[in-house]
Symmetry: C2
C-alpha cells in the first residue's frame, strides 16, 4: 500500500493534490480520448471503492466505453456534456451523474472550459469495453449522439447548462 493512502491530510493546490500523481493518458492513433488526466485521490485495501479525479482540458474528452461496474460522478469543475446510455446532457459544477451497468458513456469538456469530475468506482471491477464499428453505427443513428461524438452540438445546446 503506498504510504500516501493513509496520509491524513493532503492539501489541495488548485485541482492538484499533495502527494497525488497526475497520470496523463497516452494518446494513440485511435483518438479514443483527448487531453485528459487522472488522479487517484483515495485507494486503500480497507475501502471497497476508489475516488478518482479526472480532468479534461477545453475540448478534451474521455474514452467512449461501457462496463458492468457503475460510475458515480460529481462534476467538480467547469462545464461540458456527457453521454450516458442514449442521453446527451449538459453538465456543470456539482451536478451528479450515474452511469448504470453497461451504459455507453463519454464526457466532453466544452470548448473554452475544462471539465473536472470526481468518479467513485468499485475497487474490484471489470475491464471497460470499447465500441465496435457496429456499436458506433447504432449510437450515431441518433442525431444528437452523433453531434456529441463529433463535437458538433448546436451552440444553443452548449449553453443550455448556463
Amino acid at each position: 500500500m503506498p504510504e500516501r493512502d493513509r496520509t491524513v491530510h493532503r492539501k489541495a493546490l488548485g485541482y492538484r493534490w499533495q502527494g497525488v500523481d497526475e497520470l496523463p493518458y497516452k494518446e494513440d492513433d485511435r483518438a479514443l480520448f483527448k487531453a485528459i488526466t487522472r488522479q487517484l485521490l483515495f485507494s486503500d485495501p480497507e475501502m471497497q471503492a476508489e475516488l478518482r479525479y479526472f480532468e479534461m482540458a477545453p475540448g478534451g474528452f474521455s474514452t467512449l466505453e461501457r462496463h458492468q461496474h457503475m460510475h458515480a460522478v460529481l462534476i467538480l469543475r467547469g462545464r461540458g456534456h456527457c453521454l450516458v446510455g442514449g442521453e446527451v446532457t449538459p453538465v456543470e459544477s456539482r451536478d451528479l451523474v450515474t452511469v448504470p451497468p453497461m451504459a455507453w458513456h463519454q464526457f466532453r469538456a466544452t470548448q473554452g472550459e475544462p471539465l473536472g469530475f470526481l468518479c467513485m468506482v468499485n475497487a474490484k471491477r471489470d475491464k471497460p469495453q470499447l465500441p465496435s464499428a457496429e456499436d458506433l453505427a447504432k449510437l450515431e443513428a441518433d442525431a444528437r449522439i452523433a453531434a456529441f461524438l463529433h463535437d458538433d452540438l448546436p451552440a444553443e445546446d452548449a449553453s443550455a447548462a448556463l
Copy 2:
C-alpha cells in the same frame, strides 16, 4: 432501491441536489453534534461504497466518534478544522482527509463559514462508537485537542489555512 439511485443526471442547486433529501440530525441533550445536515448522493446495490455530503453551519460540528471502517473525505465548501487520531488540522475547500480505522475524528466549521464535505464510505460498515468519559479525558490531555473540542483554538490557528 429508490428510483433516484439510477437517475442519470441530478442537477446541483447550490449545495443541494435534485431528488436528494436533506437529512438534518436531531440534536439531543448530549450535544454530540451541532448544526449538521447529510445528503446521500450515491447509493446503489451494485456499488460497494456510498458518497454522502455533510454540511455544518458556521460553528457547527460533526459527532466525535470512531469505527473500524474508513472515511475518505474531500472538503467541498468552506473552512474548518478536523481532528483525526491525535492531530488537529485546518482544512479548506478541496483538501483530502483520510480517517483510518478506529481513529477518533470530528469536523468543525469555522465561525462565520460553513464547512461542507464529501465522504466516501463502504456500504457495509460497523456502527460508530462514541467516546467514554475516559476516552474524552485522554483526548483532552492534549491541549490542542482540548482547545479544538471546546471551540477555543487560538485565532492565529483558525487562520492558518488561509
